[in-house]
Amino acid sequence: MAFVMILFPLFMAAVAAVVPSDRLRPWLLPVTGTIHLGLTLLVLARPGLADTTLWLVLDPLGKIVLLVVSLLFFFCSIHVVGYLKHSHTRSNRVFCACFSAFLGVMTLVTWAHHLGIMWVAIEATTLVSAPLVYFERTPRSIEATWKYLVICSVGIALALLGSFFLAYASLHAGIKPTLAFDELLQQAPYLSKPWLHAAFVLMLVGYGTKMGLAPMHTWLPEAHSEAPAPVSAMFSGALLVCAFLAVLRMYQICCMAGEFTFISPMLIFMGLFAMAVAGVFMVGQKDFKRMLAYSSIEHMGILALGIGIGGAALFGTLLHVVAHGVTKGLLFLSAGNIYHAYGSKNTDEVSGALRRLPLSGTLFLTGFIAIIGSPPFGPFISEFSILNAGFATGHYVASGLFLLLLLVIFIGMGATVLKVVQNREPVSESAPQPVFREGLLTVVPPIILLGLVLLLGLHIPAPLSNLLHNAVDFLEVQP
């Protein structure tokens, strides 16, 4: 099953590369997305399919990430068709092939049960997604792509060094070194502590770069704001979470080694620092897609904080992975519609979105209310449960700062969002704007995503709840 799920999108990428018609090619993506989502649901429903080989296993954590990746890709792939219809000036061959391959390598990340394979998969996500950022071919998108490649490749290099250190930790302890995850979990208590610590730090920094944790986040606002909206949505909701999964793997090994007290303060600090940096840059932010990118940094910070607190916060953290992914999908897709209607991302030139685009404007505003953690939406439940666990476990300072930063971010983000949706439309002096009408393809995906965000806030469906509980149990297994 693993091979089918990983190779199918890659196969579709190859098909996309040979289909000659620019008009038909984008329709391959929804087909890929639908079949992939179907396969994902099948794997989740039938646990028997989750074991393929020793190195490719879909464990409960991988299941959650796979669900988010597949769900988000499904909606983004529909939106992409509408997006590419709008920008039909250049060939979308490379774009469609890379977008499909992107799904394939992210699926590999979720299945990988070998840190070496995981590393290769994460590197591959960088390589196949770089052309997606580059799609607009403006000088700014070239710069964004370059930054994305350079910074993430350094991160990936450090993660490889971290993997080497981890292998050396077992070599030094006199055990046969391995990077197979299950064997590592068994070996964990006997690993050489100093090398394990160093490996954790390097992997946190390395995969943290990809995940967007400050201060290695600098590629993220550029890439997210320059990439086409559906790509940004995939980046924010799915790619960052794949990197988070890699951090979680190392986290679990350290917990098995009894080193939770060593890594917990680091994760809490990194989490709060990411939130603080996001907060600083969000206040007064004029580019609304950039603002969403900083919001992603904030939410990755929340995830790091959540696993740093550990214990009771784990359920909330994993729920937040889902809630954030779905909400960010909604926000980026509706923001993409607004960007197309105005031809600008700057709030000086964009206002009155509620009048010009009643549906997308409303969706954007509602998405904002959801992402800042207001009831009755999904992120409220997850953030509240992390906060609750923080206070319950005696992390008073961290929890207090968490609340304070959420408030700062609420104010900063609110100012930008309200500027976009309220007021009058700007008077267009010169050439008429490129006319953009909300079509079914560009509006229906965010509407369904909004429904999901609301559903997560009102009632977590039983299968998802089981999945989350299984994942928490899986993470919490003690030696």
Binding site: E143, V154, L171, P194
Partner: protein, 213 residues
């Protein structure tokens, strides 16, 4: 333990410092390719009996680091028409001194590291740490895209040196390092296609406003 290996690593370290001290980009490319070639010899010196893994690691490294990538870099350099690194963030002499300091530090630091018995004598660990650090200096303080890529290559060489410790027990994982070269290839392609002279390609005022925040 292995005098030849140590001598080789000393040369590698010296090449690091030369690369930091020169402004001519051709020289940097040549130095780094020589470094890559020398690193390719290490697996042959490490293993007593030559296995397929050591040969593969060695051949791959010599071919990639010593020949293909430098060739591509020279080609890219010809395309974008630059010869010298103009405005480094830290001058050439200071960065050389910084590199020397880092090398000394790495030597002292690795004495304190808990190493497995057979790894205490060769210079592998300090050379790895020092090379990684020098790579970082090149990567962060140079303005030209090509020199930054060379910095990345040096960083990668450092990781490769550390990987040598694991060559005997998990050769396949060590080979993964080769994949990092893929990035280098992509960088070079980027430079050739887009003629990126600087990491920040557009330097008009609008860009400066965008960077202000």
């Amino acid at each position: 333990m292995n005098p030849l290996l140590n001598a080789l690593l000393v040369v590698v370290l010296a090449l690091n410092l030369f690369a930091l001290g020169t402004s001519r980009i051709v020289t940097v490319i040549k130095l780094v390719s020589l470094q890559g070639f020398l690193l390719g010899l290490i697996p042959l010196l490490m293993e007593e009996h030559l296995g397929w893994s050591a040969t593969l690691a060695s051949g791959g490294a010599i071919l990639l680091k010593g020949a293909i990538i430098p060739f591509m870099m020279l080609r890219a350099m010809r395309d974008v028409q630059i010869k010298r690194e103009m405005e480094p963030l830290i001058g050439f002499l200071p960065s050389m001194l910084l590199g020397a300091l880092a090398t000394g530090f790495a030597l002292l630091f690795s004495k304190a590291l808990p190493l497995a018995g057979e790894h205490t004598t060769p210079l592998l660990v300090p050379a790895a740490l020092a090379t990684i650090f020098v790579g970082f200096i090149l990567l962060t303080t140079r303005a030209k895209a090509i020199t930054q890529v060379m910095g990345y290559l040096v960083l990668e060489n450092g990781i490769y040196i550390f990987g040598m410790l694991l060559l005997g027990t998990m050769p396949l994982v060590v080979e993964l390092g080769v994949l990092l070269d893929l990035f280098v290839a992509v960088f070079v392609i980027c430079i050739i296609i887009n003629h990126i002279n600087q990491a920040f390609s557009s330097l008009d005022t609008r860009r400066l406003v965008a960077l202000k925040e």
